[in-house]
């Protein structure tokens, strides 16, 4: 028998600190697989966020920066401008990318920096134990909205992909999910396309990944992936919003 699937080489052989069923582990693996397939491990720089994925550099076997909260795109910009031959990507959660780092997130796309962002949207602040995030759905319960998010007091969830797709500097914008094996395959394709867009020098690329957070949603892992499909995917439609023109 031959091995048809094993751990990607760009992923250190260590157990992660994530909760059981967390989508971060799947997304780390997909990024590592894409780095292996494109054979860019020696020239990739990752920028880790603040949030659950703050220890990204313990898991991915590439050079990593640790950015201040929300400022990963700014650091990635500097790195990419000094070393245009490197592949630079940021890995950010929804608190990092859509809340404190919105200014950086919008302007990095407006400037058309040739970097990639993997944006993990789990509709809640995971690391700080389940407060409302800008991406929390209407009616969703969190520790700061115990009766469910109400638009009168807490406003409406932000759809980052749609916002970034309106900017001419963004070359590839897609939203995927990791709730089933089929969606995982599509997520990997999108992450690969985003990296290829950067390597072809076409502009900014963003992949938003809808991820499950069973612990802070107070669900079992299986219920949480169903919730992603049934609730989150309705408000955050999956698909590609912007694709570079084929030459």
């Amino acid at each position: 028998m031959e091995v048809v699937y094993e751990r990607p080489k760009s992923l250190f052989p260590v157990a992660t600190h994530y909760c059981p069923g967390c989508g971060h582990g799947i997304i780390h693996r997909l990024v590592a697989e894409v780095i292996d397939e494109l054979e860019i491990r020696e020239k990739t720089v990752a920028v880790a966020p603040v949030g659950c994925a703050v220890l990204l550099y313990n898991y991915l076997d590439v050079d990593c920066y640790e950015a201040a909260h929300g400022r990963a795109p700014a650091i990635a910009t500097g790195c990419k401008r000094v070393h245009p031959d490197l592949v630079v990507f940021t890995y950010q959660g929804d608190g990092d990318f859509a809340a404190i780092g919105t200014a950086e997130a919008i302007h990095v796309a407006a400037r058309g920096e040739k970097i990639t962002t993997v944006f993990v949207n789990n509709a809640i602040y995971g690391m700080t134990a389940g407060q409302m995030a800008p991406t929390t759905l209407i009616g969703q319960k969190s520790t700061t909205t115990p009766a469910g998010r109400k638009p009168e007091t807490a406003g409406f969830p932000i759809r980052m992909c749609e916002i970034v797709a309106t900017l001419p500097g963004a070359a590839y914008v897609a939203r995927v999910s990791v709730s089933s094996p089929k969606n995982v395959v599509q997520a990997k394709k999108a992450i690969r396309k985003a990296f290829e867009t950067q390597m072809r020098g076409l502009g900014y690329s963003l992949v938003e990944v809808l991820s499950q957070c069973p612990t802070n949603w107070h669900m079992t892992p299986f219920e949480s992936v169903k919730w992603v499909d049934e609730k989150m995917a309705l408000y955050y439609p999956l698909g590609e919003f912007k694709v570079p023109k084929e030459e």
Binding site: M1, E2, V3, V4, Y5, E6, R7, P8, L11, A15, T16, Y18, C19, P20, G21, C22, G23, H24, G25, I26, R29, V178, S180, P181, V184, V185, P214, T220, P221, F222, V225
Partner: protein, 78 residues
Amino acid sequence: MTGKIVINEDFCKGCALCVNACPQKLLKTAKHVSKTSYHPAEFVDAEGKCTGCGLCALICPDVAIQVFRDRKAGGEKK
């Protein structure tokens, strides 16, 4: 038997996403407790039904599953 999987119990956190992903229902949550205090997933394939499709490995958040498949059984390598 055309395929099999090996689960790394040091990494498995017993989330059971693979249990629901397996089309042949060959995975279950084990009764015993692993070193990391979780009930890991357990692979039980007495009749040799596993085809090595790898859906369990695709959904595994902890990259704990290694998939093997017979060369003769067909299917392209990913």
